[in-house]
Subunit: 334 residues, 2 copies
């Protein structure tokens, strides 16, 4: 899917006409989820909107220092005349915050995932943006909204975390220009980077060490597992393996990386990464998940070994399809 | 030490008047060493200078795709009327490329290390620059030199590697503005990042796993060792532990990080990192090395256990001195 922009006048009228707005970001929030939620929050607070900022899961510790996190709640509170979903590729990603009672309320869907299902009344979906935060920055320009220090800090957090500090393959001049603009508005890149990307507890590094010890490489697919026992021993919660798949995506011999993390509720969190040219978002979609071509995931209901078996089957299909496509493509003449 | 800039006219005359120039970067070259060597190389080649680009050690594989690496040699070749040293904090860092026979040739010392000994005939030393490559970019502006794709790619490599893609605490608006300018001149940030920072062989990840398994934390000092046996088993050369100290500097419980790597020649490579506020460059200097306040190192002649003992003593002194200083400083009133 390419860009899907709403009629701008209609969008502005919908936001302008609403007073009580419910803003929702996705379950298991990352830096772009929290950053774009709070960034747009600060922009709309300064327009005197009455906002509820909601996320089913608590704000992760690494983002706790962002301005406004204490105002993020776990569910809807009362009646609303508009809902804005942020960084959610489909309706389910809003979790339990969104339920039947809200079905009649108009919904604006703001997202940058290529797998977005366009589930909103209005959809602003731009997969050319590296982060939903970058789309919010576009809005600042288009509608002449007032930038301030809090907005800049929240949006730069989204930009930095979704690109792992400008390391992903979709980063271009526009990304760096956006970052520069947010820094000029007062956001501290080094502070954000240190808080959100660099810092990790020693226990998590020890856990990574164990995961590195059981790495498997087969047909270009590199995978490892984080079991409940490993997490328990390390004293870490479910997000202890955060960043592990990103890190492993740099392994030269791997075309696809998978990290299986056994969760306490009997499901398995599956994080996938791939080199440019291999699209793991499609495999994730077939497994009931979603994401980006080079970074996707799903939640598997079953045991670790069931997850491994089924996910590897899907990923082998992806690699085979890609190989077939590469063969069909005529060679470029010299 | 703060900025130490030469008389600009004198600098320009010295470069302008020289025809055969020997350019030297430091032993065990990193991305800024190779990037600034080649970046300035391309700038001076386009001014029809006759250059020798030299480094005692070979160009690491991760930088092999930079334009011009095939022209980097291991030593001086003949007579010169000027020497330019790049990214070397002292004369010894030029290794065996620089010997007595060159002592009478004028030397321009271009560097950004705070521990630079100002060993040149002319010294352009700017510790406010995040990389020597950033100083070369300043020269492009000051002297109106012609930027091109090759120059931009080499200089952005220096900027990106020395800041670990904008993650170090010295990154500011000027750094990002410099990066943007180099990208606008055609350098691909994502390509450089992938090549220089993200990609690592699987064997190196397995080695890190082992090093994570033997991490020790004491009084805020986190350290680990990479033994010759570990490297041999992994099939990696001496630079197999590159990046390990950087990675560990993110451990929340650590104020100082040390990685001891046993080398084949009976010495131990000591890489140190610290949180802002703790200056490890001074400890490195006392041990015969050098570097930046938050990233320094030395080569220790002796065994692993001797290195560990002596380095930890020096680092405890650093921490004690810092603690004393913190106590002396009057508390900020609320």
């Amino acid at each position: 899917m390419s860009k899907h922009l709403p009629d701008l006048e209609q969008f502005r009228d919908l936001i302008g006409g609403a007073q009580r707005i419910l803003m929702i970001t996705h379950v298991a929030p990352d830096g772009d989820a929290i950053g774009s939620l709070l960034g747009l929050g600060w922009l709309l607070w300064s327009q005197d909107k009455d906002l509820t900022l909601a996320c089913e899961d608590p704000v992760p510790d690494v983002y706790a220092s962002l301005p406004g996190t204490e105002r993020v709640v776990r569910g809807a509170e009362g009646a609303y005349d508009l809902i804005i979903s942020l960084d959610c590729s489909d309706q389910r990603r809003m979790g339990q915050v969104y339920d039947e009672s809200l079905a009649s309320v108009p919904l604006v869907n703001i997202d940058h995932h290529v797998t977005n299902t366009l589930f909103g009344t209005l959809n602003w979906v731009d997969p050319t943006s590296v982060a939903t935060a970058q789309i919010i920055l576009d809005m600042v320009d288009l509608f002449g909204w007032q930038m301030n220090h809090a907005v800049a800090t929240c949006l730069l957090t989204g930009l930095v975390t979704d690109t792992r500090s400008f390391r992903t393959s979709n980063v271009d001049v526009a990304t760096v220009r956006a970052a520069l603009r947010l820094m000029e508005a007062g956001a501290s890149l080094s502070e954000i980077t240190r808080q959100a990307l660099e810092q990790r507890p020693l226990a998590s590094v020890r856990l990574w060490g164990q995961a590195f010890g059981s790495l498997q490489l087969e047909d270009g697919i590199l995978w490892t597992e984080v079991t409940r026992a490993m997490r328990r021993e390390s004293g870490l919660h479910e997000n202890g393996a955060t960043g592990l798949a990103n890190f492993l995506s740099g392994v030269r011999e791997a075309r696809v990386v998978v990290v299986f993390t056994e969760r306490d509720d009997g499901t398995v969190d599956v994080g996938m990464r791939s080199v440019p040219g291999i699209d793991v978002a499609q495999a994730a979609l077939r497994l009931g998940g979603g994401g980006h071509p080079q970074a996707a995931g799903c939640t598997f209901v079953g045991t670790l070994s069931q997850a491994r078996k089924q996910v590897l089957v899907e990923l082998r299909k992806t690699l085979a399809a890609q190989a077939a496509q590469d063969t069909e493509r005529p060679a470029v003449p010299h």
